[in-house]
Amino acid sequence: MAEANNHTPDHKLVLEAALLSAAEPLALADLKLLFENALDNAALVKLLEELQSDWSERAVELVRLASGWRFRTRGQYQVYLDRLKPEKPPKYSRAVLETLAIIAYRQPVTRGDIEDVRGVAVSPGILKALEARGWIDTVGHRDTPGKPALYATTRKFLDDLCLTSLAELPPLAELEKVIDTTHA
């Protein structure tokens, strides 16, 4: 724990306690109240910057927002903190998963290809969501009228699914056999 200068050790501890227990960001005007205006803005900001630096190696950080200063958990620790929440993880819709499956198994494909296989229109939101996630991208354009974009999966897609290559995707042969026998 960094010690403040001799004449201000309490101030930093009080600031820290106030910021850790506040439900809202605290503006400098609020923080001044803590010390009955005995500290000016410059002194406060200096202490706040010291606090920021004290917390720089921690999972919680002191941030300055438009409405004031507040402590918050760092984004990279959210994966742990999320585990405390019983709420169910979000799920992709069937349309998204099928689109992703088509791109993964049949890449590179155009939107038209996907629509042909699924038999329904593909909403732009689906492709955008998968692109935003970094799982697919445009690898070229097919030389047909309209020059439709060709989509393929990315390395991030493989990484996020813990696959080293597309060859590790579950084989479809068995599935097709199942279908063949059930629809014989």
Partner: protein
Amino acid sequence: MNVAADLPVVARLYGEPLVKLPADLYIPPDALEIILDAFEGPLDLLLYLIRKANINILDIPMAPLTAQYLEYVEAMRRVNLDLAADYLAMAAMLLEIKSRLLLPRPSAVAEDDAQDPRAELVARLLEYERIKRAGQELDALPQATRNFEWTKVWFDAELVERLPDVIARDLQMAWLNILRQARNLRHHKVTREQLSVREYMGHLLRRLQAGKVLRFEDLFEVGAGAPEVVVNFLALLELARESLVLITQSEAFCPIYIALADGGSEQPYA
């Protein structure tokens, strides 16, 4: 038993704290309401009278206590205070106990079973006093938001959007769905293809982006191993079959050039 500490301020009279009630129980009529407010009920008032007079609670002289209590109640009635029923009920109880004490004592044989008529009252007074003190002690404990605050560090759920997890099996199941649909809608022949070829097709297209023209031999990594070279070559053939790349060679044994079929006219991902 320190009675004064027990009742630090029983009331405020004209803004002045009233630490003790008048010993003679004479109460200025306009102060009655305030004094009544100072007590939590008849038990509290009785307890005050007992403790003030330094009476042994286990041997309450019922006659003087009842007299004092009734004086209070009478004083309250004189100023037409809306006397709480609880105070009147207690008055009745005190009178009853007093009268039972006046009855001749039962014989020595029956004395074992005889109950002191005051027993129940004393038990109630003691229980009330205990609880009254317990209330004060609870109030003295450090209390959240009064004596300390919980930390409330901001956990910004929006900071990192939680995205759905997908495992490879989800894709397999999705594909199964597609197949079922396809079978149901039409006799669409969905054939199994070499995945790795598809993967290399993507790699090749990426490398050819931005209008790059690559030499055929540059497409192959030396030392990558025969299987990879073969797959890469198959990918190139597949791209050509799907008219995605142009393969040009001016004449035999000249360098073979590969370029995107769309000529790299669009370069959105340069």
